[in-house]
């Protein structure tokens, strides 16, 4: 089967966004399923094909997914906000799922000197899992800050776009992020011992 994006997908996503905006929760589920599939697909493509010479930016994936999934002939600001809200959360989920799988599947007994194995890298999967659980914690305390972080780092939105999406001022977004980042870094350190 092909993963080429059919026109129907675009219509569907645009339609779902509209439905969701009107309060249809089922629409969000469907939307999530479509966007998730597309993001995974895009991520795989990027990673396997387009990597060379570029610095990977998850945010680029989300933007590409938006362009591909949302009808660009009639883009609305609302659609865009909603889409990025969903997509950045999904991106987080995709990456963390992968990191968890990788951690679980980590085999013991690599025959190398201990210091080499340790000093070389401290495990990006572990860091991401720690970030994820810190974010989950943050969401309980201050959901808006968690959302701001997701939009910023997993969705790649600008401060201005985040402000629009969260319906707050740009200054508030900056303050949210600064506080959240310091707090997350502190929490990650607690969780993995390294910041």
């Amino acid at each position: 089967m092909s993963h080429l994006i059919a026109m129907s997908d675009t219509h569907e996503v645009t339609l779902l966004l509209a439905k969701w905006a009107k309060g249809n929760q089922k629409a969000l589920d469907d939307l999530t399923r479509l966007v998730y599939r597309e993001l995974r697909h895009l991520a795989a493509s990027y990673l396997r094909k387009e990597r060379q010479g570029h610095t990977l930016q998850p945010t680029a994936l989300v933007h590409e997914a938006y362009v591909r999934l949302v009808d660009q002939t009639n883009p609305t600001w609302q659609n865009r906000s909603h889409f990025f809200g969903v997509a950045s959360r999904l991106m987080r989920q995709i990456l963390v799922d992968h990191a968890r799988r990788k951690q679980a599947g980590k085999r013991a007994g690599i025959k190398v000197p201990f210091d080499e194995a340790v000093s070389f890298r401290r495990g990006r999967s572990r860091d991401l899992v720690a970030l994820d659980s810190a974010l989950t914690e943050l969401e309980k305390i201050d959901p808006r800050k968690c959302k701001a972080v997701e939009l910023r780092y997993f969705g790649g939105l600008s401060m201005e776009e985040i402000a629009h999406t969260l319906e707050v001022s740009e200054i508030t977004v900056r303050r949210d992020l600064r506080m959240a980042e310091a707090w997350l870094r502190q929490e990650m350190t607690k969780r993995v011992g390294v910041a």
Binding site: A44, R48, E50, Q52, P58, R121, R124, Y153, A182
Partner: protein, 1003 residues
């Protein structure tokens, strides 16, 4: 945490971050009061504030990277995986470090599906091993095979650069990604690699843009040789995880031994076909048995795409594309991209013949055609990939080649033989090759590189340095000549020449002949004071020239193969010269050239018996003074390079003419062999069968170099190259603010004046001349508002008119126009017309003096006259008695009070005072002769150029004659200097020569 507490912490956090770091404590003391817990929490947060954003962002990016490259950070076998490089049809590629050998490598993982058939994997491994064992510079080597948890991987050389696929993608749709010169160079390199593999019986089967890598240095490397067979093993697998973003399919290659699906089935299963399938040959599409010609078709497609920016065959679906490959004729490349020469289009058409019998039959055939094209249309092109823009530093390491290039119309080549030319060396202009000679069997090339002798195996490219002999006195002499070979192919001759300051006339004086053995050991000297000439057909006699007369050598001698039994065979008196010996087949008679007096027009051929007897004078049916070099072939043919009337001296073409066996007359008419437009190649030697001839191609260009001066100009930094192109660039002047260098360049085919700031990359054009006009010197008016320059009409002489060839005094009857151009823009206007010697010169404000030098009517005096940029000619300033036959260099001091005057090739500089002061003579201590003179910015010293042991030299000379060497440049051409008014920089002209050796066949 309760919301109030959180809000409280956040509030304090933000307010604390607003405080200056030193004030935070005081603020927190006050704000937190007795709540120690609150204070602790805020302080902790503050301690994580720095770099928090980077930390979170980096974690997310790292996670993504891990998701794509799961092995990152692991250690597999003795490889430490550093990060992901990319991936394609073959699987993921990682950058890794070989812990054992400490080198960086690339690890390429093959998809797990590929190992389902161990036997197939074994076959693949064997083939890939043999391919990697080719060790060809244009094939990416495979170091090792390994397996990690059932996943096979191979360890390859880590390359830095990009694949053609990326190059094409970066150019954008429909745009050719490469300039023609780079395209040809890359194509030739790639075909070199393909040819090497084909010769070993290895077919690539999957040549495509993604499999041709171009390193940062511009070297082509073919990837995945021998791997295509493997690809067919898993091509049918539908990998849902890695569905491509763009419509493309993974390698889909038919394999004759596999009972798997035909390409057709594969294509229909994957549904789309724009990837590798797009580079399949018709026989591949049909699933037929493949031979090496499939690679040529595929490479033809790659080349077509590079040349036009478009695919030769297109189709929205696999079957459509296949249909196109099988039935459609591609649009001729030159119709798609008009910049493509028709000849390249023809080459492409032949590569893309559907019937492989009509196609190129070998990679070397295709390569030869491309090489001939390269030489024909752009003889001086060589790859230059690096963004030279990055170079504020010295760019000496970069191969630079193309120079001024005004395309002349080339005569019809209809009647010419289809000569094949093959480039044997590709050295940079800073490391040019000298003479070269091919071994009698055509296997080896002996050549000179920076006075060192090299021996290259022509097929493998393997090159050996011949050790320097202990008795070579390198302070006095150096190797400069190579060849000929002895008939048995075990030895050849080399010549050392004296390191004389101005060894522009090569004679036996100080020269020696050496024997070099292929089997090893340093060369040994067999004869001093001898100029190497030739070896008799049976190898029993070596001829040489000796006993320099008034001009060149006047005697021809022969000696045995070890230098024994030397005897004189011909001689002329001291006003005449003899050179260039050719032998009859039986070795009994020789023909040589004789020139009577200094004029090359008075030269002719003479033949005679080696053991004495009457001599025969032979008049050649061509102008002997136009002959640049000649080579006698074993069958009494003479091939000669002729500078034809109407062409620059840097252009010559090859002809051949036959002699009778007794060597007493030329038979028939000369036959033209080449039609080069802008190239002169020197004939070197030939193989025993006379079918291959080595040519030495020589292409000079010049650049502006800038040094930083210290200690009043007595010291200088290593110069950096300001102009980065490959034309003739000459520094002219500096802007009055000392920030910008003005220079002339003919990069666009005509002379132009540019200005360019130090450290800048792009120059700005100030002035463009007409095609027949040359700028020959310039200065800036004292107030900085005018560029004053001299222009002459081109009379067809050499392009390099500035400071290089000025050796005869100004002709009082020939006038130059002196012009002025407003520095702020506007049209140029005439200042005056005069017969000007050297350059116009101007002092610096507050002086307002400018001056020119003219000859008196009898040429015995140089008359200095003031002029003003606007008012024109002024009063006479001074006169000096000069040699009427010699050119003079001079400069006006920055304060306008003195003139420094240097006779060409002398080391004494006269200082004339314009205000009645004492005249003075400065003699450069330790330097024999000088070529140019400029005052330093403070007027207390002089910058003079001359020649040192290692080439052209720039010196600071104080007025007592003490010289400080500032720069030595390995060239034989003057590097005059132009100091900046603030005394901080010196712009100089550096001369670069690109040279390479070529093999000519099929003439």
């Amino acid at each position: 945490m309760n919301p109030e507490r959180w809000a409280q912490i956040e509030e304090l956090f933000h307010r604390a971050t607003d405080c200056a770091p030193g004030e935070r404590c005081a603020f927190l003391d006050k704000a937190c009061g007795n709540d120690a817990e609150l204070r602790r929490e805020v302080e902790a947060l503050l301690s994580f504030d720095a770099n928090a954003s980077a930390s979170v962002g980096g974690t997310v990016r790292g996670g993504l990277e891990d998701a794509g490259f799961p092995l990152t950070g692991e250690i597999i076998s003795h490889y430490r995986i550093l990060d992901g490089l990319g991936g394609g049809g073959m699987g993921l590629v990682y950058r890794a470090e070989d812990i054992k050998l400490g080198r960086k490598v690339a690890l390429k993982f093959l998809p797990e599906e590929s190992v389902k058939d161990p036997a197939a994997l074994g076959r693949f491994e064997r083939e890939a091993r043999s391919a990697s064992a080719l060790e060809h510079p244009n094939i990416c080597p495979i170091y090792e095979f390994g397996e990690h948890e059932g996943q096979p991987f191979l360890v390859m050389q880590l390359l830095e650069g990009q694949t053609l696929r990326e190059l094409i993608a970066a150019a954008g749709p429909g745009k050719p990604p490469l300039e023609l010169k780079n395209l040809l160079d890359l194509a030739i390199q790639t075909l070199d690699g393909v040819d090497a593999a084909h010769q070993k019986g290895i077919i690539h089967r999957d040549i495509k843009p993604a499999n041709v890598f171009v390193t940062h240095e511009g070297q082509a490397k073919i990837l995945d040789f021998g791997l295509a067979k493997l690809a067919s093993l898993w091509s049918a697998v539908d990998d849902r995880e890695s569905q491509p973003l763009r419509r493309s399919v993974e390698p889909v290659v038919a394999h004759e031994n596999l009972p798997v699906s035909t390409p057709d089935m594969l294509l229909s299963r994957t549904g789309v076909a724009m990837g590798t399938a797009g580079y399949m040959s018709p026989e591949q599409v049909r699933g037929e048995k493949l031979d090496q010609r499939t690679d040529l078709f595929s490479f033809g497609l790659v080349l077509y795409e590079l040349a036009t920016g478009k695919r030769a065959f297109e189709g929205d679906t696999g079957p459509e594309l296949q249909e196109a490959i099988l039935t459609k004729e591609p649009n001729p490349a030159h119709k798609v991209n008009p910049a493509v020469p028709e000849k390249l289009a023809q080459i492409l058409q032949r590569a893309l013949e559907k019937d492989r019998e009509k196609r190129y039959q070998s990679a070397s055939d295709m390569r030869s055609d491309l090489e001939a094209l390269r030489l024909e249309i752009a003889p001086r092109y060589r790859p230059r990939w690096r963004a030279l823009a990055a170079a504020g530093v010295v760019v000496l390491s970069i191969a630079s080649a193309a120079y001024w290039f005004a395309m002349r119309s080339v005569k019809s080549s209809a009647a010419l033989p289809a000569i094949k030319l093959r480039q044997l060396t590709s050295n940079s202009s800073e490391n040019g090759v000298g003479d070269g000679a091919i071994s009698p069997d055509g296997k080896y090339l002996a050549y000179m590189e920076r006075e060192k002798i090299r021996l290259k195996h022509i097929e493998t490219g393997e090159t050996r340095k011949i050790p320097q002999p202990a008795n070579l006195d390198t302070s006095r002499e150096g190797f400069g000549g190579i060849g000929p070979w002895f008939p048995d192919g075990t030895k050849f001759l080399a010549a050392s020449y004296p390191r004389a300051l101005h060894a522009q006339e090569m004679t036996s004086q100080g020269s020696s002949i050496w024997i070099v053995s292929v089997s090893g050991g340093p060369p040994h000297r067999i004869r001093d004071e001898a100029y190497l000439d030739s070896i008799s057909p049976d190898g029993s006699l070596i001829s040489f020239e000796t006993h320099k007369g008034k001009f060149l050598d006047r005697e021809i001698w022969v000696m045995g193969p070890e230098g024994e039994h030397a005897r004189k065979v011909f001689e002329v008196d001291e006003n005449n010269m003899v050179f260039g010996v050719g032998w009859s087949k039986d070795g009994k008679r020789v023909v040589f050239q004789r020139q009577d007096g200094p004029n090359p027009a008075d030269s002719y051929f003479v033949s005679g018996d080696i053991n004495g007897g009457p001599l025969t004078k032979i008049v050649a049916p061509f102008a002997p003074e136009s002959m640049q070099s000649g080579l006698w072939l074993p069958d009494n043919r003479l091939i000669y390079a002729l500078n034809e009337p109407g062409f620059k001296v840097t252009t010559c073409n090859l002809f051949e003419i036959r002699m009778n066996p007794q060597l007493t007359e030329f038979i028939g008419e000369p036959r033209r062999l080449t039609n080069f437009a802008e190239l002169c190649a020197k004939l070197q030697n030939t193989t025993a069968d006379g079918k291959q001839v080595v040519l030495h191609e020589w292409r000079p260009h010049s650049n502006v170099y800038v040094s930083e001066l210290q200690a009043d100009g007595t010291r200088a930094s290593a110069p950096s190259r300001l102009t980065l192109d490959e034309s003739w660039n000459h520094p002219l002047a500096w802007s009055v603010d000392s920030k910008t260098v003005l220079f002339s360049s003919d990069r666009a085919g005509v002379d132009q004046v540019f200005k360019q700031s130090i450290g800048a990359v792009d120059p700005e054009s100030l002035l463009t001349f007409r095609k027949n006009e040359n700028i020959t010197g310039a200065c800036i008016s004292p107030d900085g508002s005018w560029l004053i320059y001299m222009v002459v009409l081109d009379k067809g002489g050499p392009t390099n008119k500035i400071m290089g060839v000025g050796v005869t005094p100004a002709d009082p009857t020939a006038k130059n126009d002196l012009m002025r151009l407003p520095m702020t823009g506007g049209p140029p206007q005439m200042v005056l017309t005069a017969s000007i010697e050297e350059w116009p010169r101007c002092a610096r404000s507050p002086s307002d003096l400018c001056a020119i030098a003219e000859r008196s009517a009898d040429s015995k005096q140089l008359v200095f006259t003031a002029f003003d940029a606007v008012k024109g000619r002024g009063r006479e300033l001074a006169r000096s008695n000069v040699d009427p036959t010699t050119y003079y260099h001079w400069d006006l001091s920055p304060d306008g009070t003195r003139i420094a005057l240097l006779k060409n090739r002398d080391n004494r500089i006269e200082i004339l005072s314009l205000i009645g002061g004492v005249e003075q003579e400065v003699v450069a201590k330790g330097w024999d002769f000088l070529k140019s003179v400029r005052w330093t910015a403070n007027g207390k010293g002089l910058f003079v150029s001359g020649y040192g042991e290692r080439g052209a030299a720039m010196l600071h000379l104080d007025l007592q004659g003490n010289a400080q060497l500032l720069w030595e440049h390995p060239s034989v051409v003057n590097i005059y200097g132009v100091p900046s008014p603030d005394g901080r920089h010196l712009a100089m002209r550096g001369w670069n020569v690109d040279s390479s050796l070529w093999l000519m066949e099929n003439f």
